[in-house]
Subunit: 329 residues, 2 copies
C-alpha cells in the first residue's frame, strides 16, 4: 500500500519512466524489461497512485451525481443505471444527496469541482440560476436527467412530461373513465408539475371534459402525500372511477388509503401510477403505470456526459405499462 513507482524502478533496475510506460501500456520497452518490471510490481504489491496520476494528467475518472433524494426507487434505479455505465467506461461515481437544499447543493458543487470530477449528472430538480451559473463556470460536462433548463445549455435526458401525462389520461379516458382524480406535483414545479397538468388538460379537452378543480390535488411524489391526496379526492368526489398519480409512490399511497376504505381496486376505482419503478411491480394489485425507462436514462446520461455535446438532448420514449390496477368501464 505504499510502494511507489520509484521503488518499482529501483527493484527492476530501470527508470521510473520505463515503469510508467509499462503500466500505461505505451510503447518503448522490451519484452524482457516488461517482465522484470511486472515482477517487481507484483512483489512490491505496487498500485499506481491515482491521485498523483490525476494531478499530472488532469484526469480523475470520476463523476458526480446530484439527486434530491436517495431513498426513492426512482433514485436508486437511476443510480443503478448511471453506476453500471460509469463502471463500464472506467469511471467512479460520487453520489450527492442535495436534499432539495440550495446551500447543500452549492456545497456539493464546490466539493465536486475541487475534487476535479470530469462531469456532473444533475437529476430530478429544477436548475436554479445559481446552480446553473456555478456549473457553467466549471466548464466540465453537465447532463440533466428528468429535468431541463431554458436558461442554461445543458443537454438532458428525460421523457416529454406533458405528452406522457396526456398519454396516461387518454389511456384512462379510452377505458371509459370520466371522473378521474389527479394527484399531481405542484404547478410551480416546471418539470414534473406544470407540464403534466398541461397534458392532463389537453386530454380532458380532447374528450370534451371540463376541468374540475376538485379532481386535482397536489403531492410531493412520496407515499404519504399520495395517501393524503387520495383522502382529499375521496372526500370531495363521491363518484370517482379512476385516479392518476404522478409517481408510483404516490399511487401506492392512494392504494393504501383506498384499501383502508374497503375500496376494491380496480373493481371500484382504478389507480394508475407514473414511472414504472419496482414499486409498481410489487404493488397489490400490480400497478398500471406510465413507463419511463429509468435505468436506461441513467445509462444514456452517462453516455451523453462523456461524448455528447450541448445539442444532444434525448427525449426517451414512454408508454403505458398495463398491469392490474386499471379496469375498463
Amino acid at each position: 500500500m505504499s510502494a511507489k513507482i520509484s521503488d518499482v524502478a529501483k527493484k527492476a533496475g530501470v527508470s521510473t519512466a520505463t515503469v510508467s510506460r509499462i503500466i500505461n501500456n505505451l510503447s518503448g520497452f522490451s519484452e524482457e524489461t516488461k517482465i522484470r518490471v511486472e515482477e517487481a510490481i507484483r512483489e512490491l504489491g505496487y498500485k499506481p497512485n491515482a491521485v498523483a496520476r490525476g494531478l499530472v494528467s488532469a484526469r480523475t475518472h470520476t463523476i458526480g451525481v446530484l439527486l434530491p433524494c436517495l431513498s426513492s426507487r426512482y433514485s436508486s434505479q437511476l443510480i443503478h443505471g448511471i453506476e453500471t455505465e460509469a463502471h463500464r467506461r472506467g469511471y467512479s461515481v460520487i453520489i450527492c444527496n442535495t436534499d432539495r437544499n440550495g446551500e447543500r447543493t452549492l456545497e456539493y458543487l464546490r466539493i465536486l469541482s475541487e475534487k476535479r470530477v470530469e462531469g456532473i449528472i444533475f437529476a430530478s430538480e429544477w436548475v436554479k440560476e445559481e446552480y446553473g451559473r456555478y456549473m457553467l463556470d466549471l466548464s466540465i460536462p453537465v447532463v440533466l436527467v428528468s429535468t431541463y433548463s431554458d436558461h442554461f445549455p445543458f443537454p438532458y435526458v428525460r421523457v416529454d412530461d406533458k405528452q406522457a401525462a396526456y398519454t396516461s389520461f387518454k389511456y384512462l379516458l379510452d377505458k371509459g373513465h370520466r371522473k378521474i382524480g389527479f394527484i399531481s406535483g405542484t404547478s410551480d414545479d416546471p418539470v414534473a408539475g406544470a407540464p403534466r397538468i398541461e397534458g392532463y388538460r389537453k386530454a380532458l379537452a380532447e374528450y370534451d371534459q371540463s376541468f374540475d378543480e376538485k379532481l386535482l390535488v397536489y403531492g410531493d411524489f412520496h407515499f404519504e402525500s399520495g395517501a393524503s391526496g387520495m383522502e382529499v379526492l375521496w372526500n370531495e368526489n363521491k363518484d370517482l372511477t379512476a385516479v392518476f398519480a404522478s409517481s408510483d409512490e404516490m399511487a401506492l399511497g392512494a392504494l393504501t388509503f383506498l384499501h383502508g376504505k374497503g375500496v376494491n381496486i380496480p373493481g371500484d376505482i382504478s389507480v394508475m401510477g407514473y414511472d414504472d419503478t419496482l414499486d409498481a411491480v410489487m404493488a397489490v394489485p400490480a400497478l398500471t403505470t406510465l413507463h419511463q425507462p429509468v435505468e436506461e436514462m441513467g445509462i444514456c446520461a452517462m453516455g451523453l456526459l462523456l461524448e455528447g455535446d450541448d445539442s444532444n438532448s434525448i427525449i426517451m420514449k414512454h408508454w403505458v405499462k398495463e398491469r392490474n390496477s386499471v379496469r375498463e368501464l
Copy 2:
C-alpha cells in the same frame, strides 16, 4: 476553474505559502494580507485543487462503499445513512455495485485503493478470503455492514440475525401460529441464511414444534423469489396460517402471490417481513416486520470507519414492528 494558488499569490502580492496558510486557516498572517488574499481568491474564482492537495497531504476525504445490489430498498436506505453522515463529516462517497461478482468486487477494491480512499464500507455480502486479504493489505479502515467475518478483524455493524429470527418466530408463535412457512436465504449464506434458520429452529424447539422441511423454502431476498417461494409453500402446505420472509421484498412477493389466490391477509394467512424498509410501510396491508435500523446502521458504519478500532463492532437492536399483516389466532 483554472486559477491556481500561484495566480492568487501573484495577484495578492504574497507567496503561495501565505495563500496556503490562509485557505487552510493556519496561523501566521496578518488580517490585512488575509483580506487581500481573500479578495484575490474571489476575483479569480480560485478553487483549491483537491487532487494536488491529496497528493501532498495523503488525504482524499473520500470513502468507498461496496454493495451487492443498488436497487433494493435496503441498499438505498443504507446508502442514504452513509452519505448523510459522510457529508456531515466532510467526506465524499464513491458507490460500487459489486453485483455479487468476485472479479468485479476485486476490481472495485483495486480502483478504490488506487484512488486512495480513506476507508471502505463493505455491506451485505460475505467477506471472501480474497476480498478480506485484499482489504487487509490496503491498511485503511474497513467496516462491515450486515455481515461479519471470522477470518478478518474488521469491525461490523449489524443486528444479531439468529436472535432476530428467533424474535420473529417467537412473535408469530405467541400469536398462536403453528404452521409457519419460512422463506429464507439459503443455508450456505453465513450471514442472512444459516443464522436465521438457527433462530427459527430455536424458536420452534422452544414451543415444542417439530421442524418440518416442507415449511422451509429458499429465496434470494428479492421479490420474484418471494412469490415463487410462496407458491411452493402454498402447494405443499394446505394448512398454513403464517409466513415469515427473510426480507420485506420477499414478503411482498408472497403477498402478491397470495393475493392472486384470493387469500385474505391477515385474515386467512399472516405474512411477516424482515428489514422494515419503506417497502413494508407501503405494502397493502402494511407489513408487520422485523425492524432493523437500516439508515442508522449506515450512520454508525461511517462513524466507526472514521474513529473506530477493530474492537468496536456494534450489534444494533432489533424489534418487531407491528403493522397489519399478522393477526392473532
